[in-house]
């Protein structure tokens, strides 16, 4: 059944990374997102998760010499509508020929939808329709798939948990088999009460995560947290910029946990050209 079981020398493991399209953010992540691995990007609405994903779709098309994978991508979305206009605007500065022709988009409305799409994706990965292999799979977002189907009782939570592990195992198997990068975005929920509840259990480098002045944690609980290799958290904070009362939005990316990265964070902005990290400077506070 497994005729090929044989140990591997770790030095032969693929060590490629996919650039985030920004050298400052790449430095935070020591090169970018690793292949053969599942990276989660968690954050509240409008934190920049989808923006970052669109940027990754285009980055995948770049050659390895520029941090890309010379590859096409599959974008599975459960949030609607798909931001086609923003993608089109970003693609105009892509150096690849016909970027939009190498990005495959599919919609998922339920966990079963996602599982059957991933099963179909095996064919896409094994026999790519264009001359480029598919080496990036994005699911945006995992949380939206589980919003309505499940209640908060132990039995449903158990059923939900089974699906997390099935989905994660599939994504990891594909990432390993095809040397691809898997990215999953996730929403956040408010953390209320003490650290005792299932929601308050500390996971990762930070005792608490904050966004827009609220204490939050990535959705789908401890179960789902066990399913991803790397967890990144995007946060935002609206600040009064000066005495005139004008406000601006500040944003951060934090490494919550990763097998290869220490605790670290980086401020970033979202501009017309995309998501861009801000070089850290020695400033007082924060």
């Amino acid at each position: 059944m497994f005729p090929g079981i044989e140990p591997l020398n770790p030095l032969l493991l693929p060590a490629q990374k996919l650039t985030l399209g920004c050298p400052v953010l790449d430095r935070l992540l020591r090169g970018g997102l690793p292949v053969g691995s599942v990276t989660e990007i968690a954050g509240e609405s409008a934190a920049g998760k989808t923006q970052l994903c669109l940027q990754l779709l285009l980055a995948a098309l770049l050659p390895p010499s520029r941090g890309g994978l010379s590859a096409a991508s599959l974008f599975i979305h459960s949030e609607f509508p798909f931001p086609i206009r923003r993608l089109h605007a970003l693609s105009s500065s892509s150096s690849a020929a016909d970027p939009l022709g190498h990005i495959f988009v599919a919609a998922a409305h339920s966990p079963d939808d996602l599982l059957s799409l991933l099963a179909t994706a095996d064919g896409l990965l094994a026999r790519p329709p264009t001359h480029l292999p598919v080496r990036l799979i994005v699911v945006d977002s995992i949380a939206a798939l589980f919003r309505s189907d499940f209640d908060n009782n132990p039995k449903d939570l158990k059923k939900r948990s089974f699906l997390f592990f099935k989905i994660a195992a599939k994504l990891k198997e594909q990432a390993r088999r095809f040397g691809s990068v898997a990215v999953v975005t996730n929403q956040v929920v408010d953390v209320v009460g003490s650290e005792e509840g299932a929601n308050g259990q500390r996971v990762g480098n930070y005792a608490s995560l904050w966004s827009s002045g609220r204490r939050v944690c990535p959705a789908l609980g401890l179960s789902w947290a066990n399913c991803v290799n790397t967890r990144l958290f995007l946060s935002r904070k609206d600040e009064i910029a000066d005495d005139a009362g004008s406000s601006r939005t500040r944003r951060w990316m934090q490494v919550v946990f990763a097998p290869h990265l220490p605790e670290a964070s980086c401020e970033f902005v979202i501009v017309r050209e995309g998501v861009s990290g801000i070089e850290p400077q020695r400033v007082a506070g924060r």
């Binding site: 059944m1 497994f2 079981i5 140990p7 591997l8 020398n9 770790p10 030095l11 493991l13 060590a15 020591r30 690793p34 053969g36 691995s37 599942v38 132990p154 939570l157 059923k159 948990s161 089974f162 699906l163 592990f165 099935k166 195992a169 990891k172 198997e173 990432a175 390993r176 088999r177 005792e196 509840g197 299932a198 259990q201 500390r202 996971v203 990762g204 480098n205 005792a207 609980g221 401890l222 179960s223 947290a225 066990n226 991803v228 290799n229 967890r231 919550v256 946990f257 990763a258 097998p259 290869h260 220490p262």
Partner: protein, 287 residues
């Protein structure tokens, strides 16, 4: 006496050399006392020297607490040369989740080597092979890595180890990272799952004893709804708990990482703090 009958006398202890043992017996007895250092003095102390060979140790904790870091650290530390007080052995690393990152293993190997050069320089000066062996890439090459993508692959791999260990006598640790990930999906037949897990744990215990090696099983934690509230427990705890000789739980104590011995036949319950630094597991400074 012929050559063969003399050899048999030595083995069975019969005849003229009763009570003698073979050199293999002596070596394995010596290895009975061996431990693999975790790289953290305080953690080693509460473990009675380190991770024990001939035993199965489970290490559990939440994501990001440092289970994989400890697993890789042990796969490196098992290779510390005998001249420096280590086992000079090799490692098997069974990666079921894709957490093993070569760049991190390389850092950890570098850290271990630089510690050896700093602390045991006096022992190494008479050790001529030193420069070739004390290279991060040599350490990585001594880790037999398996990547598992399903529970059936996991079973097949552990079965494969039966023969592999017969041929690779240098292996002194098997790390499974993590043991339960592929068993946390829905199983149509829960009895099958229990049988499979039971069979796997028996095999691993047998490997530990037969080949005098350490088996380290990294495990996830889950929340169990008991009497109206959620409690943290190790994944598949009920089906698995009997299989391990020792259990270590890694957890957050405020902003610090701690480890405590949850189960052990010989050690009393104790806690130790640890740090994950750029290179190794380290003990925190005691204030």
């Amino acid at each position: 006496m012929s050559e063969t009958s003399r050899f048999r006398s030595l083995e069975g202890g019969h005849g003229a050399l009763k009570g003698a043992q073979t050199a293999w017996d002596m070596l394995s007895e010596e290895q009975m006392q061996k431990h693999i250092t975790t790289g953290c003095e305080e953690l080693d102390a509460i473990l009675g020297g380190g991770i024990h060979c001939k035993e199965v140790t489970e290490v559990g904790g939440v994501p990001g607490i440092g289970k994989t870091q400890l697993g890789i650290q042990l796969a490196v530390n098992v290779q510390i040369p005998v001249e420096c007080g280590g086992l000079g052995g090799k490692a098997i690393y069974i990666d079921t989740e894709g957490s093993f990152m070569v760049e991190r293993a390389h850092q950890i190997a570098e850290g271990c080597i630089s510690d050896l050069l700093d602390n045991t320089a006096h022992r190494l000066k008479d050790f001529p092979a030193c420069p070739e062996i004390l290279q991060p890439n040599s350490f990585l090459a001594n880790i037999f890595y398996f990547r598992i993508c399903s529970y059936t692959e996991q079973i097949a791999t552990i079965n494969y180890l039966e023969k592999f260990l017969e041929e690779q006598k240098d292996v002194k640790i098997i790390v499974v990272d993590s043991i339960t990930f592929h068993f946390r999906q829905d199983f149509d037949d829960l009895a099958l799952r229990t049988r499979v897990l039971g069979g796997m744990s028996l095999k691993l215990m047998r490997f530990a004893k037969k080949y005098s090696l350490a088996v380290v099983l990294l495990n996830q934690v889950t929340t169990k709804f008991v009497e109206g509230s959620f409690h943290l427990t190790l994944a598949l705890g009920d089906t698995w708990s009997h299989a391990c000789t020792n259990r270590i739980i890694l957890y957050w104590n405020g902003n610090d990482r701690h480890a405590y011995i949850d189960k052990s036949p010989s050690l009393r319950s104790a806690t130790a703090p640890f740090l994950i630094t750029g290179k190794v597991y380290e003990v925190t400074r005691v204030i």
